[in-house]
C-alpha cells in the first residue's frame, strides 16, 4: 500500500458520509395523524395520500378560472370544491394532519399563505 496518509482519511470520510443515515441516531417512523371527523374522504384514502395536491390544484383552477364549484367523485357523490369548507371541515386539525406529513417529507405547500387555518383563526378571535 502506498500513500495511505493521503488515501485513507478522505476514503474513510467518504464512507462515513455515505453511511451516515445508517449510524446516525434514532429515526422517524410514519407520523401519527389526527383522525378526521367524517366517514370517508372525497376519494379513496390511498389515492388521496398520493394525489391530493393535484386534486387541490385542479380545484383551485376550476373554481378561480371556470367558476365550477361542484366536484363529482368516482362514486358519484357531489362535493363543493373548497379547501376550507370541504377538506378542513373533516380534517380540522392542520398541525396534526397536514403539517405532520409535510414536515416528515420536507414538503412546503403554500395553501395557507392565503387560506386560513380555522384553529388559528379561533385563537385570534379569542385574543
Amino acid at each position: 500500500m502506498y500513500n495511505l496518509k493521503w488515501i485513507l482519511p478522505p476514503f474513510l470520510a467518504f464512507l462515513a458520509i455515505l453511511t451516515y443515515p445508517l449510524w446516525s441516531g434514532p429515526k422517524g417512523a410514519m407520523p401519527e395523524l389526527a383522525k378526521p371527523k367524517g366517514e370517508a374522504c372525497v376519494e379513496s384514502a390511498t389515492w388521496m395520500r398520493a394525489n391530493h395536491m393535484q386534486l387541490l390544484d385542479h380545484w383551485r383552477e376550476e373554481v378561480v378560472r371556470n367558476q365550477s364549484r361542484v366536484y363529482v367523485n368516482q362514486a358519484g357523490q357531489r362535493f363543493e370544491k373548497s379547501l376550507t369548507k370541504t377538506c378542513l371541515s373533516c380534517h380540522n386539525n392542520k398541525q396534526e394532519f397536514c403539517d405532520r406529513c409535510h414536515n416528515y417529507t420536507s414538503v412546503k405547500p403554500y395553501c395557507f399563505e392565503c387560506h386560513v387555518d380555522p384553529k388559528l383563526s379561533e385563537v385570534s378571535h379569542v385574543q
Binding site: 476514503f11 451516515y20 417512523a29 410514519m30 398520493a50 420536507s106
Partner: protein, 328 residues
C-alpha cells in the same frame, strides 16, 4: 448491437420491476435487492480503492500545461504545473469541481482539400458539468427520505431548485438540466461517426440507466404519483435494519430497482472515475521532478558497493602497491 444491448437491459430491468410489483414481490424489490445492491456498492468501491492504493506509481508523470517552477526570475504556473502539495490540491479541486481539463477539449475536422483543422469544443465540458452537478443536487435532495428530521440543506436546495414555482408539485430545474445533460452526452456518442466507432455498450449503458432513473423519478413525482410518506417510512425501515415490505406504487419499485442496478454496477464500471480521478498520477503528482527524486517502488533492492567498502577490503594490497588511499 452496442446500442441495442444496453437499451434492452434497461427496459428489461424496468419490466422486471413492474412484473415483480404486479406479482406482489414487494419484499424482494423493496428490501432484498436494495440491501444487496448497497452492499455490492460498498464492498466493490472499497475493493477498487484498495487495488489502486496498492498499485505503485513508477514515474513522476504529471501532465503540465504551464511553466514549471524553475529559476527565481521565471514565473511558474502553480495550477498548470504545480510544484507543491497545495498546488496539486488546487489543481485537483478545480478538476473535480469544474472539469478544467474538459474545458480544453478540441475536435478535429477533416474538410475537403483535404484540410485537417482543430477547433475548441466546449460542449462536452458544458453538458458534463450540467449533468454531474444536477445529479449531485438531486442526490442531495433525496436526503429528505433518509434523515429525520430533514437536514437543513434539503430545504435550501428545494427552494432554489424549485425557484420557478411552476406546476404542482413544483418543477425542479435540476430535473430538466439532468435530462438535457444526459441527452447531450448520449447524442455526442451517437451523432459523430468517430465517437460512435469508439463507443462501447459499457459507455451507453450507464447513460441509458441514469436517464431511465431520472425519467422514472420524474414520472413518480409529476405523473404517476406515490405516497411519499410511505416511501420515507419504507426507507427509514431499511436504514434502521427493521425492513418491512410496503405496498407502494409500481413506479417507485421501477425507480428503486434501476437505482439498485446502478449502485451494484457502479464499482465494476467506468463510473468508478468518481474514485479514480483522485488516483490519476497525471493529476495528483507535483511537477517537481527536478527538485525531489521520485523513487520507483518497483525497483529491486540493489546491493551497492561503494568505493569506501572496496578500499577497506583491499587496503593492504593497495598500500603495498603504492596506490594512494582516500582513508589516509
Amino acid at each position: 448491437m452496442k446500442l441495442l444491448a444496453p437499451l434492452v437491459a434497461v427496459f428489461a430491468l424496468a419490466a422486471l420491476a413492474l412484473g415483480g410489483a404486479a406479482a406482489g414481490q414487494y419484499y424482494l424489490l423493496g428490501v432484498v435487492i436494495p440491501y444487496v445492491a448497497f452492499a455490492l456498492f460498498l464492498f466493490g468501491f472499497s475493493y477498487k480503492i484498495y487495488g489502486w492504493a496498492k498499485t505503485p506509481v513508477p514515474f513522476n508523470i504529471p501532465t503540465t500545461c504551464g511553466q514549471q517552477k524553475a529559476l527565481p526570475w521565471i514565473k511558474g504556473n502553480e495550477l498548470e504545473a504545480p510544484s507543491s502539495t497545495l498546488g496539486v490540491l488546487g489543481r485537483m479541486a478545480l478538476e473535480v469541481l469544474v472539469f478544467r481539463s474538459l474545458f480544453r477539449n478540441t475536435k478535429a475536422n477533416l474538410e475537403p482539400g483535404p484540410d485537417l483543422s482543430y477547433e475548441s469544443d466546449k460542449s462536452l465540458w458544458l453538458f458534463g458539468l450540467l449533468f454531474h452537478w444536477s445529479f449531485l443536487l438531486i442526490f442531495l435532495r433525496h436526503y429528505r427520505f433518509f434523515l429525520e428530521p430533514v437536514p437543513f440543506f434539503v430545504g435550501f436546495l428545494e427552494k432554489f431548485d424549485g425557484l420557478l414555482q411552476i406546476t404542482l408539485p413544483t418543477f425542479y430545474l435540476t430535473d430538466a438540466l439532468i435530462l438535457l445533460g444526459i441527452s447531450a452526452l448520449f447524442a455526442r456518442r451517437v451523432i459523430s461517426p468517430k465517437m460512435r466507432y469508439i463507443s462501447l455498450a459499457a459507455d451507453y449503458f450507464p447513460l441509458m440507466l441514469i436517464g431511465a432513473i431520472a425519467l422514472s423519478g420524474m414520472g413518480m413525482r409529476y405523473l404517476h404519483k406515490v405516497d411519499i410518506a410511505l416511501v420515507k417510512t419504507h426507507i427509514q425501515g431499511l436504514i434502521t435494519f427493521h425492513p418491512e415490505a410496503h405496498v407502494i406504487g409500481a413506479t417507485f419499485y421501477v425507480h428503486l430497482l434501476l437505482v439498485s442496478a446502478l449502485a451494484a454496477y457502479f464499482p465494476f464500471s467506468k463510473l468508478m472515475h468518481m474514485g479514480g480521478v483522485f488516483f490519476s498520477p497525471t493529476r495528483n503528482l507535483a511537477n517537481d521532478s527536478r527538485v525531489n527524486r521520485h523513487i520507483n517502488p518497483w525497483n529491486p533492492q540493489i546491493k551497492i558497493r561503494t568505493y569506501a567498502d572496496y578500499e577497506a577490503d583491499f587496503k593492504d594490497k593497495m598500500k603495498s602497491a603504492g596506490i594512494p588511499l582516500d582513508a589516509d
